[in-house]
C-alpha cells in the first residue's frame, strides 16, 4: 500500500509510462525525468450538499532547475496543489484521485513518516503570510536550526553557525543579533527573508512558493523576488511560484500554468502565455488587468462578466463557459484535457484555434 514499497519500481515507470491525458506535459524534453509530476490530481472537500472540488484532475510537470508559475484567482485551487504535494490538505479535505510523483515515487498514500522526510528536506514551502507561518513564541534562530537538526542531524553549535550564515545569505542585517530575535521584532520583508532561510536550510530540490510576496509592499516584493532568483541559481533548486499577479509570474517563471475553478486551462512557456494566448480565460484575465502604461484618452478595462462557479456546483464541461465570450453549446461537453497548440504550449479549450487567432 505505502508508496515506500512501490518507490523502487516507480522510478522507471515514471519515465516510460504512456499518458492518457494532456500528452505534451508529460514528456519532458531530452529524456530528462521530471522532478515532480502531477497526474489527474483531484482534491475535494465534503460539503452539506456534496463535494467541493478544489483541484479537478490536474496534470502538471515541473522540470529540474525550472520555475513553474501557477496563476489564477482566489479559489482556483493553486494553493491546494502546493498543500497536496506536501500532504497538508486541511481536514476534511482529501486527495481523492490522481498521483503526485516526486522523483518518480508517488506521494499520494505515502506514510506519515515518509512525508516527514520529504517535507522541509526535499520539498520546502514558503507561505504567503510570514507573520502567521512563523511561530511567535520561538526565536528566528530556533526555527531555522530545527530543520537543520531534525533533517540533517546537525549539532546545536553547527546548526547555529549554519543558521547565522543562512540569515546573512538571505540579506538580514546583523544576523547574529537577529538569530535571537522573535518574529514580531522583524519587519514584514525581514520575516519573509527569515522564512526563505528556513525553506532553503536543507537545500531542498523543490521550493513551493505560495504567494511569497503578496503581503509585502511593491519595493520589498521586488527585493524578495530578486533574492529568490539568486538562490535558485546558487542552489540549483526548482520552484513552483504560485501567484494571483500576472506581472509577478511574467517576470519570474520559465513556464506558466493558468488555473480556473480547479482546472489548469493553459500551460505554456511564460513568454508564449502573454504573446500567444490560447485560452479565452487567460486572454480575458490579461484584458482585465490594469497597466502602469497610461493611455490617453482612458481606455476602460474589459471586466470578465459574472463570477467563478461554486466549487460544489461546477457546470458540466468547461467551468469558464458561463463567462466566456466565445461560449457555445459544445463547451458543456469539453473534458478539460489539454491539447498541444505549440511547443510546450497546451490549452484546454478545443476551440481556441478558431476563436483566438489574432487575439
Amino acid at each position: 500500500m505505502s508508496a515506500l514499497e512501490q518507490s523502487g519500481g516507480a522510478q522507471e515507470q515514471a519515465v516510460g509510462r504512456p499518458e492518457a491525458r494532456g500528452a505534451g506535459t508529460h514528456e519532458p524534453g531530452a529524456g530528462a525525468p521530471a522532478l515532480l509530476e502531477l497526474r489527474d490530481l483531484t482534491v475535494a472537500f465534503p460539503t452539506r450538499t456534496g463535494f467541493a472540488v478544489a483541484v479537478n484532475g490536474v496534470s502538471l510537470t515541473v522540470a529540474p532547475g525550472q520555475v513553474t508559475g501557477i496563476v489564477g484567482e482566489s479559489g482556483s485551487g493553486k494553493t491546494m496543489i502546493c498543500r497536496a504535494i506536501l500532504g497538508l490538505i486541511p481536514w476534511p479535505g482529501a486527495i481523492v484521485g490522481g498521483e503526485i510523483r516526486w522523483r518518480g515515487r508517488d506521494l499520494v498514500g505515502a506514510s506519515a513518516s515518509e512525508m516527514r522526510r520529504v517535507r522541509g528536506r526535499e520539498v520546502a514551502m514558503i507561505f504567503q503570510d510570514p507573520s502567521s507561518a512563523l511561530d511567535p513564541v520561538f526565536t528566528i534562530g530556533n526555527q531555522i536550526t530545527e530543520p537543520l537538526r531534525v533533517h540533517l542531524g546537525r549539532s546545536r553549535a553547527a546548526a547555529e553557525k549554519e543558521a547565522i550564515e543562512l540569515l546573512a545569505r538571505v540579506g538580514i542585517p546583523s544576523p547574529r543579533e537577529r538569530f535571537n530575535a522573535y518574529p514580531h521584532q522583524l519587519s514584514g520583508g525581514m520575516r519573509q527573508r527569515a522564512m526563505i532561510a528556513i525553506a532553503i536550510s536543507c537545500k531542498p530540490g523543490l521550493v513551493l512558493a505560495d504567494e511569497p510576496t503578496t503581503s509585502l509592499d511593491v519595493t520589498i516584493q521586488d527585493q524578495i523576488l530578486g533574492l529568490l532568483a539568486e538562490l535558485r541559481d546558487e542552489y540549483g533548486m526548482s520552484m513552483v511560484l504560485v501567484s494571483h499577479d500576472l506581472g509577478v509570474v511574467a517576470q519570474n517563471t520559465d513556464s506558466v500554468a493558468v488555473m480556473y475553478s480547479g482546472s489548469i486551462v493553459e500551460t505554456a512557456p511564460t513568454s508564449a502565455v502573454f504573446a500567444a494566448t490560447r485560452h479565452p480565460y487567460t486572454a480575458a484575465l490579461i484584458e482585465a488587468l490594469p497597466s502602469i502604461h497610461v493611455r490617453e484618452p482612458r481606455v476602460a478595462l474589459k471586466p470578465i462578466p459574472g463570477q467563478p462557479p461554486a466549487l460544489d456546483a461546477l457546470p458540466p464541461g468547461c467551468p469558464f463557459a458561463p463567462r466566456c465570450r466565445y461560449t457555445t453549446e459544445a463547451c458543456q461537453s469539453v473534458d478539460m484535457t489539454r491539447v498541444a497548440v505549440g511547443p510546450e504550449h497546451e490549452t484546454a479549450c478545443p476551440f481556441a484555434e478558431q476563436v483566438m487567432v489574432g487575439a
Binding site: E73, S74, S187, G189, M190, D217, V218, T219, I220, Q221, D222, Q223, L225, G226, A229, H244, D245, L246, G247, V248, V249, A250, Q251, N252, T270, S271, F274, A284, L285, I286, A288, L289, P290, S291, I292, H293, V294, E296, P297, R298, A300, L301, K302, P303, I304, Q307
Partner: protein
C-alpha cells in the same frame, strides 16, 4: 469620457487640503513612564496639500505606513488633524461644531477595503442602504424602497439584492452594495480607501469601471487611495505619491507615470512587476526597508534609500514645480539630464 486635466474648465476645487499634519503620541510603557521618558511620536501625515475637483479622480499611492489612510481618516474627521485645513466647497471642515459636522459628513462618504467588514452581517442590503438615507432625511419611509432600487440599479446590482444579507453576495457585489450605500447620501466627495485591493482581477476591473463612471456621470470628486500603481494609473486623472507622511510627487497621471521626477516614484514604477516585460532586472529597484515613522530621517525622507542622494539632500527639499502642474519633492533629479 474624460478629458485630460489640462483641458478641464478651471472650476473651483470642491475639496482643498492644505498643509495637513497628524501625529500620534505613542503610549508609554510603565518603565518609560517611571523614567520620565517623553512619549514617542509617530508622524503619520506631515504637511500634505491636495486639491480635488468635481468629476475628477485623484489617486493617492504609497506603500504601507506612508500615511494615505490617516489622510483619508482626517478628511472624514475620523481622526483629528493637528494642523492644517480641510475646506469643503470653501468652508473649513475643521472649524465646524459637532452638529454642523453631521451635515458636512454626509457630503463626504467613504468606501473601505474590506466589503465583508463594512456591512452589518445581519442587515439586508436594502436596509443598510436605506438606513443612511432615512437618518439623514433624504427620503421618507414611503419613498425608501424606490430610492434603494434606484441606487442598486446605479451600481449594477439586481433589485433582488435588496432583500439579501451580505453573506449571500459575492465580494464584488458586496463592494457594489457598499458603494450604493455611500451614494445614498448624494455625497460630493467619495473617498475610496483600497476599495479594490481585496478583489480578484476580473472583479477589480468591474469596480474600477463603476467608480470611474459614477465620478464622470454624477460629477463626484473621488479621492482614490491604493497601493497598486496599475490601478491608480487606470482610474486617476491626477496622482499624488506619498512616502513617510509627505507627498513626494504629484501631477497629472500621464505625466507622473511617463516622466517620474522623484527617485521614489521611479523606484515604485521599476519595482512594479509589469506583465508586458517578461524578464526581470538583475538588481532590485531600491534597497532597504522603509524607515520607521517613529524615527523619521532628517532632510529628504527618501535619502536613506535613494541612489541619487547627495550632500544637499540632508536639507528638507521643497515641492518643486517641474511644469504643467507636475511637482516633485527632489532637488537632484527633476532637472537632471536623464529625466
Amino acid at each position: 469620457m474624460s478629458s485630460p486635466a489640462a483641458e478641464r474648465p478651471a472650476s473651483e476645487p470642491i475639496l482643498e487640503i492644505e498643509d495637513l499634519r497628524k501625529r500620534f503620541v505613542m503610549a508609554r510603557s510603565p518603565l518609560q513612564w517611571a523614567r520620565r521618558q517623553p512619549p514617542r511620536v509617530l508622524t503619520a501625515v506631515d504637511g500634505v496639500s491636495l486639491e480635488l475637483r468635481r468629476g475628477e479622480v485623484l489617486g493617492v499611492v504609497g506603500e504601507s505606513g506612508c500615511g494615505k489612510t490617516t489622510l483619508a481618516r482626517c478628511v472624514m474627521r475620523l481622526a483629528e488633524p493637528d494642523e492644517g485645513s480641510i475646506r469643503l466647497d470653501g468652508s473649513d471642515l475643521l472649524a465646524l461644531s459637532r452638529s454642523e459636522l453631521r451635515g458636512a459628513r454626509k457630503r463626504i462618504q467613504m468606501v473601505f477595503q474590506d466589503p465583508y467588514a463594512s456591512l452589518n452581517p445581519r442587515m439586508t442590503i436594502g436596509a443598510a442602504i436605506g438606513e443612511a438615507a432615512r437618518v439623514h432625511r433624504l427620503v421618507d419611509a414611503g419613498g425608501e424602497q424606490r430610492y434603494v432600487a434606484e441606487l442598486l440599479e446605479l451600481v449594477g446590482l439586481p433589485a433582488s439584492a435588496s432583500e439579501r444579507l451580505p453573506k449571500a453576495l459575492s465580494g464584488g457585489q458586496r463592494q457594489r452594495a457598499v458603494i450604493a450605500r455611500a451614494l445614498a447620501l448624494k455625497p460630493d466627495v467619495l473617498i475610496a480607501d483600497e476599495a479594490v485591493s481585496a478583489l480578484d482581477v476580473s472583479i477589480q476591473a468591474q469596480i474600477l469601471g463603476l467608480l470611474r463612471e459614477l465620478t464622470d456621470e454624477l460629477g463626484l470628486a473621488t479621492l482614490f487611495i491604493a497601493h497598486q500603481l496599475a490601478v491608480i494609473a487606470q482610474i486617476s486623472d491626477s496622482v499624488a505619491v506619498m512616502y513617510l507622511g509627505q507627498v513626494v510627487e504629484q501631477g497629472p497621471t500621464a505625466s507622473v507615470f511617463r516622466a517620474p521626477r522623484h527617485p521614489y516614484t521611479r523606484a515604485l514604477l521599476d519595482a512594479h512587476p509589469d506583465p508586458s516585460v517578461v524578464k526581470r532586472r538583475d538588481a532590485p529597484a531600491v534597497a532597504g526597508d522603509v524607515p520607521s515613522p517613529l524615527q523619521m530621517p532628517s532632510g529628504c525622507r527618501f535619502h536613506t534609500r535613494c541612489p541619487y542622494a547627495e550632500e544637499r539632500c540632508l536639507q528638507p527639499p521643497p515641492l518643486l514645480d517641474v511644469g504643467a502642474g507636475h511637482r516633485a519633492r527632489c532637488v537632484v533629479l527633476p532637472f537632471g539630464s536623464d529625466g
